[in-house]
């Protein structure tokens, strides 16, 4: 297995792709890692990523960008780019990634592999270096749904060290792969097929939905009106939580420490100035501002209230349908360097994945075709704790299609 470098591995460097932790070696295993080890998984290496999970292309790694195996001039997606690329290139049979705003699903779709973000709390976050505590989740990236089911089985379940982990029993995911989705009510949210989407993406996702209909699913048009607010909501909540989560990196206890002249405060400032990359600094500043006196109500508090509306939106829709089908991203893998000058343009690639994290729901990315030779991912979204249902939909689709078996030419 490959493990994204945001998860602690005992005795093995865990850098979070940051200069701040370039030489940091944890003294314990993350729970998800420990559980996989207990099941006999062998660690092949740690996966490159966007620094501290912040990014959508793995270009924010402090060390080097990872290249998409389908076109090495393009990004693999992010932030779990290294993990998706490794599985895509056959360097590892599966990987553990993390998803805060789409960081498993989006790189999985860009690299043509299968990824799953579980329900928030389904998998323990103990040992996952925190970015946005109320959004982060650990999940599998593998070649197909059946593999994802096996991995999820090993890592899911309550952990007494994570107060946000769910006590609910873990079902037998592999047994849920019946290959039968007849009668499944599949919603297609109109807001996820807006203008500006890549035509090839639209075509591939639409074809996939048709395929699911042919397999017995009943397709219904639905609406999620709060979709347009998810991006703004995310970019207040996540930076706010991250500004606190990254406050511990001050060069005093561990990690990068920039000494030199001046007093302790000056050393701390320099440590953070040089230890963090620009996107991380950007988000810390955004978050500190959003939480600051006089602004808390207008930004953070308001964003949390909007979040409740987003969650209610999904809950309402899931009274009508059993799952949703949509694109993962409006685009396919873009060239390295294309969006690095414009943060907001970079943020926009995640518009369809962010709402899912806001609502804490499970979702998958399933390879469903190509656009100009680059992989396209179909997103499946389910209600709370419906991983078994999503895996079965994906598995059924993968029994009838070959997209997930395609391999890059490298």
């Amino acid at each position: 297995m490959q493990i994204k470098d945001l998860l602690c591995t005992n005795g093995i460097a865990t850098t979070c792709a940051s200069r701040m932790l370039a030489e940091y070696i944890p003294v314990y295993d993350a729970t998800a890692v420990a559980r996989l080890r207990e099941h006999g998984a062998v660690l092949l290496g740690k996966g490159n990523m966007d620094e501290f999970g912040m990014g959508s292309s793995t270009e924010n790694s402090a060390f080097f960008p990872t290249r998409n195996p389908w076109d090495t001039g393009r990004v693999p997606g992010g932030s779990s780019g290294g993990s998706a690329a490794a599985v895509s290139a056959g360097a590892a049979p599966f990987a553990l990634g993390t998803d805060t705003g789409g960081s498993i699903r989006q790189p999985a779709s860009f690299c043509g592999v299968t990824g799953l973000k579980p329900t928030y709390g389904r998998v323990s976050r103990y040992g996952l270096v925190a970015y946005a505590s109320s959004l982060d989740q650990v999940g599998p990236i593998a070649r197909d749904a059946a593999d994802c089911a096996l991995i999820l089985q090993s890592i899911a379940g309550h952990d007494s060290r994570d107060a946000t982990s769910l006590p609910d029993a873990v079902p037998d995911y592999s047994a849920a792969l019946t290959g039968d989705i007849s009668g499944l009510r599949l919603g297609v949210p109109s807001e996820y097929f807006a203008e500006g989407m890549d035509a090839g993406v639209r075509a591939a996702v639409t074809a996939a939905i048709d395929q699911l209909a042919a397999l017995g699913a009943e397709i219904r048009e639905v609406s999620l009106p709060t979709t347009q607010y998810a991006l703004a909501c995310y970019y207040i909540i996540a930076p706010s939580e991250c500004s606190a989560n990254l406050a511990r990196y001050d060069g005093v206890k561990y990690g990068y420490s920039h000494q030199g002249d001046g007093d302790m405060w000056e050393a701390m400032e320099r440590t953070r100035q040089h230890g963090f990359g620009p996107e991380v600094k950007r988000r810390i500043m955004l978050g500190a501002f959003a939480l600051s006196s006089g602004y808390y109500d207008a930004y953070y508090h308001k964003a949390q209230q909007v979040r409740t509306l987003i969650r209610q939106d999904f809950a309402h829709v899931f009274e009508e349908v059993d799952a949703l089908a949509a694109p993962v991203s409006p685009v396919v893998a873009f060239p390295i360097g294309e969006r690095t000058d414009d943060p907001v343009r970079m943020y926009l690639v995640d518009v369809y994945t962010l709402p899912v994290n806001m609502a804490g729901l499970p979702a998958m990315s399933v390879p469903c075709g190509f656009s100009n030779g680059l992989p396209v991912g179909l997103q499946l979204i389910g209600p709370h704790l419906s991983e078994d249902r999503l895996l079965n939909i994906a598995h059924t689709y993968q029994q009838a299609t070959e997209w997930h078996r395609e391999r890059p030419g490298i």
Binding site: L7, C8, T14, C16, L21, Y24, P26, V27, Y28, A30, R125, Y126, G127, L128, V129, A130, A132, S133, S134, S160, R161, D162, A163, T164, S240, E241, S243, A244, L246, A247, R248, Y249, D250, V252, K253, Y254, M264, M268, A288, L291, S292, S293, Y296, Y300
Partner: protein, 471 residues
Amino acid sequence: MFCGCPADYQAAEPNTRTCPVCLGLPGALPVINRRAVEYTVLTGLALNCRIPEFTKFDRKNYPYPDLMKGYQISQYDLPLALDGFLEIDGDTQLGLGRRRIGVERVHLEEDVAKSYDDRGEGYSLVDVNRSGVPLMEVVSKPDMRSAEEARQYLTLLHSIVQYLGVSTGNMQDGNFRCDANVSIRPVGSQILGTRTEVKNMNSFRAVYQALEYEVVRQREVIEDGGAVVQETRGWIEEREVTVSQRSKEYAHDYRYFPEPDLPPLRIGPERVAELAAELPEFAPQRSARFQADLALSGYDADLLAGSRSMANYFETTLTLRDADAAEVANWMLGDLARLLNQDHREIDASPVTPQRLADLLALVADGTLSTSLAKTVLEEMYATGGEPADIVREQGLGQISDTGAIEAAVAEAIAANPKAVADYISGKDTAARFLMGQVMRLTKGQAQPELALRLVQEGLELQKTRGSLEP
């Protein structure tokens, strides 16, 4: 508070009570300590607070090397307990009587690591043992009107948390800390003056002195035409002054937000009722009961009820022996207290158990021991942890009540002290007491005192009649 590390930071070697959670290592997560929450609710109930159904933790963000995560997990707007009070006697010197001092809130948070600064070598050291230890904060309303009232409030609060077993209440160890806010205003004004916060007081006496000092200092500032600056001041014990700490800190925007790693807690009325049933009878009520039912003096009752362990020891001894309450009180507050104080021991650690004390008092009651001998036996019991009956037997300390044995000593005392005999015959009755003392000495203190005195008096009377019979 949020991990499993032991909280014995005072005794432990530095940085030996740590784990990824209280070190704030990347990836570590907090988990709420249930008993700490229960202790806080119990304290809130003891302080007559309202326990809201929903409570949560919040992150208080500020950078400092002793704050491992760069934020402290505390409680901001939904604390565990709200709107309570304590009743104090009031500062009678100011004409203030018994009344309520409001308690604003009781909340729970984690302690920070301990810094060792200004060692003169150009660096500071951090001991992380204390990081993450639970801290319960009781915030009073500004209802106290003098240092004396502050002292009363603190003493009562101290007694309550000790009684609950929530804290040892030891200020020197840092288990009971006090920060005080104080302001002054012209007599009759309804508006509170600008307050200063005073820290670094390590005893109740220091709190009292610091507040008295600060009141005088503020008064001088105002009378000199100035204005009191709102600031934090540290109490300097050696110089008995407060000193401004303004330069050490700048105003922090703590950017509070709800702790996303910890779900909010619901403490329902059923649970609150269960906890309320755990509340013991506190010191003031227990003392009142001792006075009413056992006819103890207010002074003695307050002392005995002062700590839960003292009061329990007292009541246990009474039941074991159906004894006279005043007698038990005398022994506990006299000789036993003296022995414990010499060793700085709490009564829980007394080698003299309630059973043994009861047995000792039984030996006095049945005449086996005189009171003064019993004191000796008590000392031996304390030193060795032995049973009183065994000690009496081993040392042959049983009171001599055999008349014949004492008569021999009486005869010896009379023969050896002719002057005393002469004094008695010429009318000095006190000489009898002197001779009785001699008899006690001769019998190694074991003669029954009343019997010894009677036999001495008889012997002296005999001398008198003999003398008058001499030609």
